[in-house]
């Protein structure tokens, strides 16, 4: 018997050889916001997926509202009032927002979906919680923040009483995150229970009532928010102390390494079309690009790195024009690139670590003699990088899909940084990775800069932008809405510019 809305005891789950959760516990009280934290791969998502019935667990008991539940399925979970916003959004791109929300719980009019009734129901939740969404857009037309709101409305409209949010803030701006917290507070006020997974300790401290920590699949402990501090949490998570705020080194900027002149390029959405952008990056400098996701940052990076056609304007890398050259050509001239989406772009998940590491080297003599891959050299090289960048586990013949997010990201970072290019484009380099990995990736970027490489950093995480960049440009609707130096930049100024305000006004903000 238990008096918790959710209680999971002694949970074990293996995926083939991988042990994702061993002896997992969590106890959630009604009406609390319960944070679940842990490093990448600690098994947080797996615990929650087991609770949601996405796959069966190998051992342990699950109790929901004081009933032991066997054979949990998503359908069953939903009926029990569990709603989950997954780490990767469960939204069908080709369908509209409304269709996605109604999916599985469609109001019916005869055989057809009664969209009118559905729309009215959804509107109720929009009004109640002040969640702003556009119901008739398709998912690929909306921003990540909006997609998240869609996910929340989706589970609310299904009558969720127990709400699981798996890293909801990883993709949000601070303003959006604050908005989310407001919503969570309202939900809590309405008596709903929230399980909140995050890597960001300050958020956890801000919003949660109690905090459970997992490490390497195992339960470590649960603490009251009021009785703990971030340092202790980090220690519980990682097993050692961490230092997130790396000391920024002196700007030692040299020659222009990237010169973007009046760049125009196509966009997936109207507001993400790039319409005339100019800026420079110097050697030994980190230029940060801030902005709300979907304001053209992705398109800009693609245009610079050769992945998108430049429609007008010039891109010059270390004095050489690289406008519309092929990716391989641009890379050959010294461009390196950590892409924003490691699973889609950065890695070939089905291939091994070493195969991913050499992806940018297959043309090199050392790696392929007469177009025949040199296996030994490749593996040696990969092992070297794995050591240097602390990729765990240290087995480079593992497929990258079995790595945790942080380690997968380290593979990408290692490959790109080891190229020793003239410019490193780092797009959301720490998105969704744990603080241990964040720490190491940030210090790597800092080191790269110290070696005299120019770094172009795009991040939705303002704290990251502020702590790393020497200069910051802010993008809004495909243009630059302002440029700030590190010393003059603040959260609020950036936030204001991200909403489209002008620099002078920002100064007064």
């Amino acid at each position: 018997m238990s008096s918790f809305v959710v209680e999971m005891k002694g949970i074990n789950k293996n995926f083939g050889e991988v042990c994702a959760v061993k002896n997992g516990h969590i106890q959630v009280e009604k009406g609390e916001i319960h944070a679940l934290i842990g490093e990448n791969g600690a098994g947080k998502s797996t615990m929650m997926k087991l609770l949601y019935g996405l796959f069966p667990h190998d051992a342990g008991d699950i109790w929901v509202s004081e009933k032991q539940i066997k054979n949990m399925t998503p359908k069953r979970a939903i009926d029990l009032g569990i709603g989950m916003v997954h780490q990767e959004f469960m939204l069908v791109n080709e369908l509209t927002v409304l269709e996605n929300i109604l999916l599985g719980f469609e109001p019916k009019k005869g055989l057809t979906v009664d969209f009118a009734t559905g729309r009215a129901q959804v509107q109720q939740f929009i009004d109640q919680y002040g969640l702003d969404i556009q119901m008739d857009k398709r998912i690929h037309q909306i921003s990540v923040g909006e997609a998240q709101r869609v996910e929340i409305i989706k589970i609310l409209s299904r009558g969720a009483e127990i709400i699981i949010l798996d890293e909801p803030t990883a993709v949000l701006t601070p303003q959006e995150a604050d908005g989310l917290f407001e919503i969570l507070k309202k939900l809590k006020a309405d008596g709903k229970s929230v399980i909140f997974i995050s890597h960001k300790l300050d958020e956890v401290m801000k919003i949660s009532d109690r905090i459970s920590v997992m490490r390497q699949g195992a339960y470590i402990g649960t603490v009251q928010k009021t009785e703990t501090n971030p340092a202790q949490l980090a220690q519980m998570m990682i097993g050692r102390e961490v230092f997130l705020n790396i000391k920024k080194s002196e700007v030692n900027s040299g020659a222009k390494v990237l010169d973007v002149q009046d760049l125009w390029t196509s966009g997936e959405k109207e507001i993400s079309k790039i319409r005339g952008i100019s800026f420079e990056v110097h050697e030994g400098e980190i230029l940060g690009i801030a902005g709300i996701d979907g304001n053209g940052q992705s398109e800009l990076i693609e245009a610079i790195t050769g992945l998108r056609k430049v429609e007008k304007g010039k891109v010059i890398l270390a004095g050489e024009a690289i406008t519309n050259l092929s990716v391989s050509n641009i890379r050959a001239k010294g461009m390196t690139h950590i892409p924003e989406d490691r699973n889609k772009r950065g890695l070939n998940r089905a291939l091994t670590i070493w195969e991913n590491i050499i992806a940018t080297h297959i043309g090199d003599q050392a790696f392929s003699k007469n177009k025949v891959l040199s296996l030994q050299h490749s593996i040696d090289y990969a092992n070297e990088l794995a050591e240097q960048f602390d990729i765990r586990p240290r087995d480079v013949t593992m497929p990258t899909q079995s790595l945790s997010g942080g380690n997968a990201q380290k593979v990408v970072v290692a490959r790109e940084v080891a190229m020793n290019g003239k410019l490193l484009v780092a797009s959301q380099p720490t998105r969704g990775v744990d603080i241990g990995a964040i720490e190491s990736i940030r210090s790597i970027l800092e080191k790269v800069k110290e070696q005299g490489t120019g770094v172009l950093l795009v991040s939705a995480d303002l704290e990251e932008i502020l702590s790393l960049s020497d200069r910051i440009i802010v993008m809004f609707e495909g243009k630059i809405s302002g440029t700030l130096t590190a010393s003059e930049a603040t959260d609020t100024k950036l936030g204001y510019l991200m909403m489209g305000g002008k620099t002078e006004e920002a100064a007064h903000a």
């Binding site: 069966p56 190998d58 051992a59 391989s328 690139h337 940018t360």
Partner: protein, 357 residues
């Protein structure tokens, strides 16, 4: 090694199940299943003629199966191997007939090169249509197979006709005919060429930068693009690679088996190759074995028809049942089932449903 043993046992069980189902059919028509199956085995393996038939069946199947599998590795579902075989064949026939002035080794090489080039050009069409315009290659290759068939059909009943009762070309020069080593069957040294080509193809895919590019693009094209591999070029090259293998298959059939271009000679060669590759889910190493199995099944089926009064339709039905059962991977997957039961012991013994993660 243990895995290999397991899959052998599984394969044996699949065969056993197919045999039982087949036996029911055979008994329904009042024949003795034991002697029928003896005839099947004899038809596939016993005697020079029968074994030779199996080998002769195996040769083109292995190449077309690899042609399909190579395409699949690069992300192409290439139904068009059949068309490549036809056009490769006609090119080999043309060169074999008309370029007799060349000395033998060069002439032979020319036949192969011609077949490879023409077939590659043919495969280029759907490849480029997909890469540059997004035209689905399943659609275009299904349609283009017919076009290839009619083109060759036109050539051998018109400009290249031998003027005999059938639509066929003149015979190719004797010097380029491939030696048949198991007469009277048409098994020929083309088989060794095919095996070598097959080994080279597998090696290219697994060991070279080109193969690396193909696999990368096939698994994740946008990753490929990002690391500087042009997915469009690579896709087209993959199709060309596939076409080359198809062309070689056509060339060997013409020079080794027929000695002239016979209208519609490749009917089903491409399709059965595709089947062989698909059954083993495009596993390059297993593909040739599956091709051999299908080749043996085919000649065994003929043997069954020849030696007993089991009608061909029953023989073909049994063959189809064999294939259907062979596709079912999880049939007789004892290992997996046991594991699930073990791990689920404390809880429910319900079958797993962890499909996609």
């Amino acid at each position: 090694m243990r895995d290999f043993g397991k899959s052998l046992i599984r394969f044996a069980l699949i065969i056993a199940l197919s045999l039982v189902i087949g036996a029911i059919f055979i008994m329904i028509i009042g024949e003795n299943p034991i002697s029928a199956y003896a005839a099947l085995v004899k038809g596939a393996f016993v005697g020079k003629l029968n074994l030779g038939k199996t080998l002769a069946n195996f040769t083109p199947l292995m190449l077309t199966a690899l042609a399909f599998a190579v395409g699949a590795k690069g992300g192409a579902f290439n139904v068009g191997v059949e068309g490549e075989v036809f056009l490769g064949g006609i090119a080999a026939a043309y060169i074999g007939i008309h370029w007799g002035f060349l000395p033998m080794p060069i002439h032979l090489l020319a036949c192969f090169l011609g077949a490879m080039i023409v077939a590659a050009m043919w495969a280029f069409i759907p490849g480029a249509l997909k890469a540059y315009y997004g035209v689905n290659e399943v659609c275009s290759t299904i349609l283009l197979n017919y076009v290839a068939f009619y083109i060759t059909s036109y050539l051998v009943s018109g400009p290249m006709s031998a003027g005999v009762a059938n639509a066929q070309s003149d015979p190719v020069a004797d010097q380029v005919k491939l030696y048949q080593f198991m007469k009277p069957s048409s098994a020929n040294v083309g088989m060794f060429i095919a095996i070598i080509v097959g080994i080279i193809a597998i090696w290219i895919l697994n060991k070279t930068t080109f193969g690396y590019k193909i696999r990368t693009v096939g698994l994740n094209a946008s990753h490929a693009e990002y690391v500087g591999i042009n997915p469009k070029h690579t896709f087209v090259k993959t199709m060309i690679f596939s076409g080359v293998l198809g062309g070689i298959a056509g060339c060997i059939e013409i020079l080794g088996v027929h000695g002239y271009f016979l209208n519609n000679f490749a009917a089903n060669i491409g399709f059965n190759g595709m089947l062989a590759a698909l059954v083993v889910k495009n596993n390059l190493i297993l593909t040739p074995f599956m091709a051999f199995f299908l080749g043996a099944l085919k000649s065994g089926a003929l043997g069954l028809q020849q030696a007993t009064s089991v009608p061909k339709s029953i023989v073909d039905t049994i063959t189809a049942v064999f294939i259907i059962i062979a596709t079912m991977d999880l049939l007789f997957q004892f290992k997996k089932k046991k594991q699930i039961q073990q791990s689920d012991e404390p809880l429910k013994p319900e079958a797993s449903q962890e499909k996609e993660a």
